[in-house]
Amino acid sequence: MTRMTALAYFGVASLHSPLMMLGIAAVGSVTALTLLLDGQAGTRAVVPVVIVQLFAASTGFAVRARRGHLDLLLTGGTSRSRVAVAHLVMSAAPGLIVWLLVGLVEFAGRPPRLTVWTSGSAAAMALVSGISWAVTVPFPRLSGAIGWTLLGVTILTIVPGAPVAVSGGAAGPGLTPVLVIACPFSVAGRSLAAGDALGVGSALGVAAAAVAGALLWITRADVALEAAQ
């Protein structure tokens, strides 16, 4: 019996549209160029990579499955749990690869301070990759990213002092878990300090819980065809 692997399947039936892949590549290239030309670009250079990952990881599972696009995979010898993990990995991979490559470019340029490969940037990438993917699993592509963006803007608008806190004006202690989730870009480019532990740690905990919930959802979900319901 020939078993197809879930990674190979998603390699053929890509989770990202060609336009999205082009967008990821373009943002990565511009960011790398910015860092090469301006060693002081710092945080403002890495934020676009985090933003594009927010949308890139928002691939969605349920709609594709209900159209029958995943039938061959789901009945082809691969367990649902492996399918779920492969879906997460392949959803997050393009953005993460660009992040690593941009970091490599920055590192090669020997800047006075790294901004791409910092603990804050890693946390921001983990947050946008995990939550955006997880929230979108039962919904159409990009819906999680769009919803998150709207939620973030709303929170930043209605919470007093939020814009100052996320812009670094009230560094560290000012960042509550809600603000970190609402605006994960606020920690991008920073080296996290002890004062960030509660805010960033809690936000990462929420992301981990969301990912676990989404993985479980995929392993248990019924996949009825849209036309058959």
Binding site: R64, H69, L74, G76, G77, V223, A224, L225
Partner: protein, 231 residues
């Protein structure tokens, strides 16, 4: 039949939310046998087939494939399933999709699936599933849809080949002539109930014809229970 059934279905019921699609569906299918699932549009043929391959859970009853739940069975037993050309992702190139079955190239066609004709897409999906080796269970949902006469003959030959090599084959169609003479038993989904009839019950001499299936189908639609068969 001494060998145990490959597919064992007992008192199966399915529905979406409060809407019941069917109930009281029971049958057994052995290796090297074919079952035809017949019924009007909306009778639950697709739902039943998706339950058999573990994509949907039934609301009641039990399904076992080689003694396992369908969802476990599809990871342990070679199962082939195809629900029609509409389920193929249009953005994928045909040659790459075809290689998913075995890794071997089954078509050199480089165009994206959405640009192919309906019949070509249907054929691509079927060939991808048939490409898998040593199938234990083969489940095809309306496989004749969109095929030209040559492809129809090819499909019938492939189904017979897989069945003769020991696969338990389940086919669905709302067109009775598609399944006439192909199957060893027929499951009619009519009025939310499943009624199983073996080929010998429909035709004591010779193969089952479309006219015989039509008569049986009409009788069941009329509410007669005289065609009900023990499972």
């Amino acid at each position: 039949m001494n060998n145990p059934a490959v597919v064992h279905v007992r008192d199966l019921a399915a529905g979406y939310g409060a809407r019941e699609v069917f109930r009281d569906v029971s049958f057994e299918l052995h290796a090297g046998r074919a079952l035809g699932v017949l019924g009007p549009s909306g009778a639950g043929k697709t739902t039943l087939l998706r339950i058999l391959v573990g994509l949907i859970r039934p609301t009641a009853g039990q399904v076992r494939i080689d003694g396992m739940s369908p969802r476990l069975a599809v990871t342990r037993v070679p199962v082939g399933y195809f629900a029609g050309e509409a389920t193929l992702p249009g953005a994928v190139r045909a040659s790459r999709w075809g290689s998913l079955g075995t890794g071997a190239v089954i078509t050199a066609e480089r165009r994206r699936i959405r640009t192919l004709s309906r019949g070509t897409r249907q054929l691509l999906g079927l060939r991808t599933v048939f490409g898998r080796q040593s199938l234990r269970v083969l489940v095809l949902d309306e496989p004749w849809e969109g095929l030209d006469p040559d492809a129809e003959r090819w499909l019938s030959t492939m189904v017979e080949t897989k069945r003769d090599r020991g696969a338990a084959v389940i086919l669905s169609s709302h067109r009775l002539h598609d399944l006439a003479g192909v199957c060893d038993a027929y499951l009619f989904l009519v009025k939310g109930r499943g009624t199983l009839m073996h080929a010998q019950q429909i035709s004591s001499v010779g193969p089952v014809t479309a006219a015989m299936l039509t008569r049986a189908f009409d009788t069941l639609r009329g509410g007669s229970a005289c065609y009900r068969a023990a499972c």
